[in-house]
């Protein structure tokens, strides 16, 4: 509270200072009539940025028509054959395609569900870390555990590679200790791919994910704890009856958002970890679109799959938003 007040004062002083500087410079000029700053002039100032947003977010939507063609980049859209809904039909009619897309959907949903199931971990991380009293230990833990969040997936893969490859540190140590005779294939194996991917996500995201809960805990009204303590509540009762309920709104918002994003796992993590051995189980929807579109050159099919994914995601988001409005009286988007 005091720091906030201090910041406020500092900020106001700075503001006044800058205001004086600014007015000094323009003072002496003839004040313009108020009408010259029309509302349309203001709009013109932001037009360049609106154009950028339009080009990179709205214009690509036009590209959805590629899903109706047999698009060949060399021929252009005019030269490509119009095939109507053929790609969409193909997704469900051909058994091999159907089998492939089911596997991809299964991977996508499984990894997303594991992510959602482990989304309570940051909450418990924050609650337990809050029980640690030594400030130096708390701060070091917070800094060190949030660090992996700030590195790229490529570097995560580099770390995985140097620690878990057949000649990596972990296999070396296990071998030296006589626990194994042949190296364990942590990376080049189709075993437990969903689980290992989830574990890497946890390693990367847990410390950072806890920060929002730590901030919320700091914001909980202290009189709640005081009155509970007077009523004789112990450490665990305080956690259970005060901290957790107080964090629930934050948790629910994040949970709903992750449900809305259930098809969007992104592709970077899975792209860097994919190899010939784990490909079947690691290919999530985003990676699949990349693999068939960019390397397989089925641009139209990839567009069709990506389009369905986007539509379902937006529908999910709207649903989740409506549910949130009804249940909590608050919308999340």
């Amino acid at each position: 509270m005091t720091t906030q007040a201090q910041a406020q004062t500092v900020f106001q002083e700075a503001a006044v200072h800058n205001l004086e500087k600014a007015t000094k410079k323009v003072r002496g000029r003839r004040p313009r009539p108020a009408g010259s700053r029309t509302s349309f002039t203001l709009f013109l100032c932001i037009v360049p940025f609106l154009i950028l947003a339009f080009v990179f977010s709205y214009l690509p939507l036009y590209g959805w028509i590629y899903s109706l063609y047999d698009y060949k980049p060399a021929l252009g859209l005019e030269g490509s054959e119009f095939v109507g809904l053929q790609w969409f039909q193909m997704l469900v009619s051909s058994p091999t395609q159907m089998a492939q897309i089911s596997q991809v959907m299964m991977n996508t949903l499984a990894i997303s569900f594991l992510g959602i199931a482990t989304s309570v971990l940051p909450l418990f991380f924050a609650i337990l870390l809050n029980e640690i009293k030594a400030p130096w230990f708390r701060n070091s833990v917070q800094t060190l555990t949030a660090l992996p969040n700030f590195i790229s997936w490529v570097l995560v893969y580099m770390i995985a590679f140097s620690l878990f490859s057949s000649s990596g540190l972990v296999n070396d140590v296990l071998n030296d200790a006589g626990l194994i005779t042949a190296p364990i294939k942590f990376l080049d194996s189709d075993q437990n791919v969903w689980l290992t991917m989830t574990l890497w996500s946890i390693w990367k995201g847990l410390g950072w994910g806890a920060i929002i809960y730590l901030a919320s805990i700091a914001g909980i009204d202290q009189s709640l704890y005081e009155s509970a303590r007077i009523d004789g509540a112990g450490r665990f009762q305080l956690m259970r009856y005060i901290t957790i309920p107080q964090l629930m709104p934050t948790y629910l918002v994040l949970l709903l958002l992750s449900i809305a994003n259930i098809l969007n796992n992104g592709m970077e993590q899975y792209y860097v970890f994919q190899n010939a051995f784990n490909k079947e189980w690691i290919q999530v929807l985003d990676l699949y679109v990349y693999n068939i579109g960019m390397t397989g050159n089925s641009l139209s099919l990839a567009t069709a799959v990506g389009m369905l994914k986007s539509l379902i995601s937006v529908a999910l988001l709207l649903t989740v938003n409506a549910v949130s409005k009804r249940v909590r009286g608050e919308s999340i988007v």
Binding site: L19, L50, L52, M158, L163, R229, L238, G306
Partner: protein, 318 residues
């Protein structure tokens, strides 16, 4: 009884859920387990970084065998000099730094400006255009249509593909707008009475006072730019536009060409320096990794507290 209770209450600080209890055995065990748990997790998070660093400065023949585990063995720094003789690495460093600096500057400026402009209630169609921007947060046309647009615009194999799509970021605009709304309205009115136009109001009065939120946006944007890998993968085939992240990925996956690169680079220097400092695929990977992660390790702890506040500030209203 009463005295201990008042003592308990007065010692309770903000965020302190436990105050001081009589230490029951259960409490002590809980505390020990708690400390042990966090010690272990912090170790798991930190050791890989330490491992990369000690291996990049250890004797290369030992690091290739995985024999460097706890501290540097045969300390030398020649890897850092030699790795820059690898083909493409100096250029990749320039590209990575370039996109981070230019991209961050543009993002910060655009976010601040848009955040400020969207508080101007007089603006024509303000609510509509604000929604127009925010909506882009929630949908994407998909990889392929975006790729085709980039190609049509001539942005494939073009440095600007690293920068332009990142300039307008709805979330950053929300953060900046929320911040401007917390500033006193009178600032603008006073400046306008003195004849300042809208750009003067922004650049001379508002921008200098937005530092906390600008720093937050800057650090997030810089980390994203520095770490970005996917755009190189999708839009770039020209090797002179590779970023450090992409080059690292190439190095991890192409052991044979890397061994070749190591021999070429070590050819003149390596032989003089002897076996221990001759480049190996492992030493190259470790050294490039450290180069990639070092800027973040320096910047991040300095800013941590700062941007946690920043994100809370903007997220509250979202």
């Amino acid at each position: 009884m009463t005295t201990t209770m008042t003592k308990t209450l007065t010692t309770a600080k903000k965020g302190d859920t436990s105050a001081r209890y009589r230490s029951s055995p259960g409490d002590i065990i809980f505390r020990l387990l708690n400390y042990a748990l966090f010690f272990l997790f912090a170790l798991i998070c930190a050791y890989p970084f330490y491992y990369l660093i000690i291996n990049s400065v250890s004797a290369n023949d030992l690091s290739a065998l995985g024999d460097v585990r706890l501290w540097p063995v045969g300390f030398h720094l020649s890897n850092y000099g030699q790795v820059f003789q690898l083909q493409g690495l100096p250029m990749a460093t320039v590209v990575s730094i370039g996109r981070t600096v230019i991209g961050t500057a543009l993002t910060v400026l655009a976010s601040a400006f848009l955040g400020f402009m969207f508080t101007q209630t007089r603006m024509w169609g303000r609510k509509f255009w604000y929604r127009f921007l925010i909506i882009t947060m929630y949908f994407s046309a998909g990889l392929i249509p975006v790729f085709i647009i980039m190609k049509t615009l001539g942005l494939t194999n073009n440095f600007w593909v690293y920068v332009l799509p990142f300039v307008v970021q709805p979330f950053n605009v929300i953060l900046a707008k929320t911040y401007v709304e917390s500033m006193p309205r009178e600032l603008q009115e006073a400046a306008e009475v003195d004849g300042a136009n809208i750009l003067q109001v922004f650049f001379r009065v508002y921008l200098p006072n937005m530092t906390p939120i600008l720093a937050t946006i800057a650090i997030f944007s810089a980390v994203t730019q520095w770490n970005s890998f996917q755009d190189t993968l999708i839009y770039i085939t020209d090797q002179s536009l590779y970023t450090l992240q992409y080059l690292l990925y190439v190095f991890i996956n192409q052991a044979s060409s890397l061994a070749q690169a190591a021999q070429n680079a070590g050819g003149d220097l390596g032989q003089i320096a002897g076996l221990a400092t001759e480049q190996t695929p492992t030493s190259i990977r470790m050294t490039v990794s450290v180069l990639v992660v070092l800027p973040i390790m320096f910047v991040y702890p300095l800013f941590q507290r700062f941007f946690v506040k920043g994100i809370m500030l903007g997220a509250v209203k979202g």
